[in-house]
């Protein structure tokens, strides 16, 4: 049994403090409904943040996730609309979207490893390309789902819990096992911490890096399917905007290093929740419109600062 590390999970205390603070100021904040809502609202960025944690630990970055959410959601909706409103069609469309997402992640991985293009550049390019494709096919408009079956997925509740929340939690547990308990996970850390050492240890560095982008792509598809089915639509211009920033912020708040080698998905999970709590709190407390950005920024910086101070 490893010793519970305060610095690793100090983030949990930040979250609890934040929740107590909000609960005192607005009692409705701590109601069951609201807590579920926060989980629900957080899950879309949260799932992506879990994927991006792999990329960042391996020393990369993925700026394309926001536009990719729109593209993948649009693709899924287009496919469902094409194949008709049957269970088979929905399952098949989602499957196709996963294949496409994984292939795109693989492509980005190859471009950064074999093509030797910095991840920042490939994914920045991807961000522009995906968004522009989405805009082009919809002419700047909205993709609407004609399928009732598809649109019902995102609103599903299981045992009274919203489906996105369940997926988010399950996804985090799965990612935790993959990253902390498997050889692949150890390789991801090794590659990000010291590439040269990893090469000498006979780790297929390029392959590990590429796989992290595949994981990121799969995470994006998961989020995109949940989001687009919940909304029953994808807006070509606004869906997924700034998701990359929120996902990276969640990972960083959770203790993932921007320079690689360090981080964990549990931290990311709570980092994402902190962002969710902040967003919810701003609405609950009716914080003045213009000051919201400042409040958000201060809490993010404060959360990371607290963690760093604890570590020293």
């Amino acid at each position: 049994m490893p010793k519970f590390s305060f610095s690793k999970y100090g983030i949990i205390f930040v979250l609890i403090a934040l929740m107590i603070f909000s609960g005192i100021l607005s009692p409705a904040f701590l109601s069951r409904r609201n807590i579920l809502n926060i989980f629900w609202q957080t899950s879309y960025v949260g799932i992506i943040a879990v994927g991006i944690t792999f990329v960042m630990i391996a020393g990369g970055i993925d700026l394309s996730v926001g536009s990719m959410v729109a593209l993948m959601g649009a693709f899924a909706i287009t496919m469902v609309n094409k194949f008709g409103d049957s269970n088979l069609s929905v399952v098949f469309s989602i499957f196709l979207t996963y294949v496409l997402g994984a292939v795109m992640g693989f492509g980005v991985g190859l471009l950064t490893t074999k093509g030797k293009i910095p991840a920042f550049v490939t994914t920045l390019g991807g961000m522009a390309i995906y968004r522009s494709l989405v805009l082009n096919f919809a002419n700047g408009g909205v993709y609407m789902s004609m399928s009732q079956k598809y649109s019902s997925i995102g609103m599903k509740h299981i045992l009274g819990l919203p489906l996105p929340m369940i997926v988010f939690i399950a996804y985090t547990i799965f990612a935790y096992i993959l990253l902390d308990k498997t050889r692949f996970g150890r390789y991801v850390y090794a590659v990000g911490a010291n590439e040269t050492a990893a090469i000498y240890s006979a780790i297929k560095v390029d392959w590990v890096r590429t796989m992290t982008y595949v994981i990121s792509g799969i995470s994006v598809v998961t989020s995109a399917v949940l989001l687009s089915s919940m909304m029953g639509s994808v807006s070509s211009s606004s869906t997924g905007n700034n998701f990359e920033l929120d996902a990276i912020a969640a990972a960083v708040i959770g203790g993932t290093s921007l320079s690689g080698g360090k981080g964990n998905v549990i931290g990311t999970f709570f980092g994402a929740l902190i962002l969710g709590v902040i967003n919810n709190m701003l609405v609950m407390l009716n914080v003045a419109v213009y000051l919201q950005g400042m409040v958000k920024g201060l809490i993010i910086i404060g959360a990371v600062l607290l963690q760093n101070l604890k570590e020293q």
């Binding site: 607005s26 409705a28 904040f29 109601s31 409904r33 609201n34 809502n37 629900w40 609202q41 805009l135 919809a138 002419n139 700047g140 408009g141 909205v142 609407m144 609103m155 989001l227 919940m230 909304m231 029953g232 639509s233 807006s235 070509s236 211009s237 606004s238 869906t239 905007n241 967003n279 919810n280 701003l282 609405v283 609950m284 009716n286 419109v289 213009y290 919201q292």
Partner: protein
């Protein structure tokens, strides 16, 4: 002498046969409404597809400096008219003024510039857009109730609308705004906010969203919470699906107010009219009016079909 005269006449004839070239510079689609504006610009340009006298250059920009560069390129190419929806007023002012001083017929659309040096300014009526929504909600509630405001991206346009909305509520002291939050003109964001507000407030009688895109998010949140009854909903700008709902007699959405993205089409037509020396029918003036504020029209079940453009993207 005679030779010179013939030469000059020749030049004049050639010039008069030359095409009118119109540059159209608008912001790129960053939410539903701007997507609509791009669509309507293309629509208007298509109308002139068979007109050999006019030629169009359409450019869209993601930020002010990009738009400045685009307008510079248009000026270098040589255009006779510029139709521009400035991305931001201040940074675009100098280049628009330069176009005007170069003798290019300059039409400013919607977001203004900080100068009077242009030929035409055409815009939507932000004040009435907010005011009519406020008045409708207050009257519909019978002068008493709790109102939620989900506004757009913080900006001058948005502020003007929200202030007007509040002005309209002033005569009704029992109509209270219980929450006011920015939804950034996004469905997802509006959904989130509404979900949260529904847990906070057991009694919400009306919701005003800065535009119809956000109204979709609110509708979804209400449906999910099972509170899509006895509530007055007003959006704005006439997104086609909302107009369709009004047309079909939606129980919660009774009206919508125009802020037409097709003002860009109107501006393009005005530019062509000006270049061809035409004037507005019924006006005693020969020239095109210099300032045009489009009225905010009220869309109800009765007239909704006139505002329903199924093939438009917005």
């Amino acid at each position: 002498m005679k030779k010179v005269l013939i030469f000059v006449l020749l030049i004049v004839t050639i010039l008069s046969f030359a095409k009118f070239r119109v540059g159209v510079a608008i912001p790129a689609a960053d939410h539903g409404w701007t997507g609509g504006m791009v669509w309507w610009a293309q629509y208007a340009i298509k109308q002139y597809a068979n007109d050999p006298d006019v030629e169009f250059y359409l450019v869209t920009a993601k930020e002010p400096s990009e738009q400045i560069a685009q307008v510079q390129a248009l000026l270098a190419k040589g255009i006779d008219a510029l139709v521009i929806n400035p991305y931001e007023s201040a940074p675009l002012t100098p280049i628009c003024v330069q176009a005007f001083r170069d003798g290019i017929f300059t039409i400013i659309v919607d977001r203004g510039i900080n100068s009077e040096e242009y030929n035409v300014y055409i815009a939507g009526d932000n004040y009435m857009y907010g005011y009519l929504a406020g008045k409708y909600i207050a009257e519909k509630l019978g002068g008493k109730g709790n109102v939620v405001v989900i506004e757009g991206i913080p900006s001058t346009i948005n502020t003007e609308r929200v202030e007007a909305f509040k002005k309209a509520l002033e005569p009704y002291p029992n109509v209270k705004i219980i929450a006011q939050q920015p939804g950034y003109w996004s469905r997802e964001k509006a959904f989130e906010i509404m979900q949260t507000l529904l847990t906070k407030f057991p009694n919400i009688d009306a919701v005003w969203t800065g535009d119809d895109d956000m109204l979709h998010g609110v509708l979804l949140a209400l449906k999910q919470a099972g509170r899509d009854k006895n509530i007055v909903l007003v959006g704005g700008a006439c997104e086609k699906n909302i107009v369709k709902m009004i047309m079909d007699g939606h129980p919660l959405i009774g009206v919508d107010f125009t802020y037409p993205p097709n003002m860009i089409s109107t501006a393009i037509n005005l530019a062509v009219m000006a270049l061809k020396g035409e004037h507005l029918n019924g006006f005693y003036q020969r020239g095109i009016p210099r300032k045009i504020i489009l009225s905010t029209e009220t869309v109800t079940k009765e007239n909704a079909k006139d505002y329903y453009f199924p093939e438009s993207v917005f």
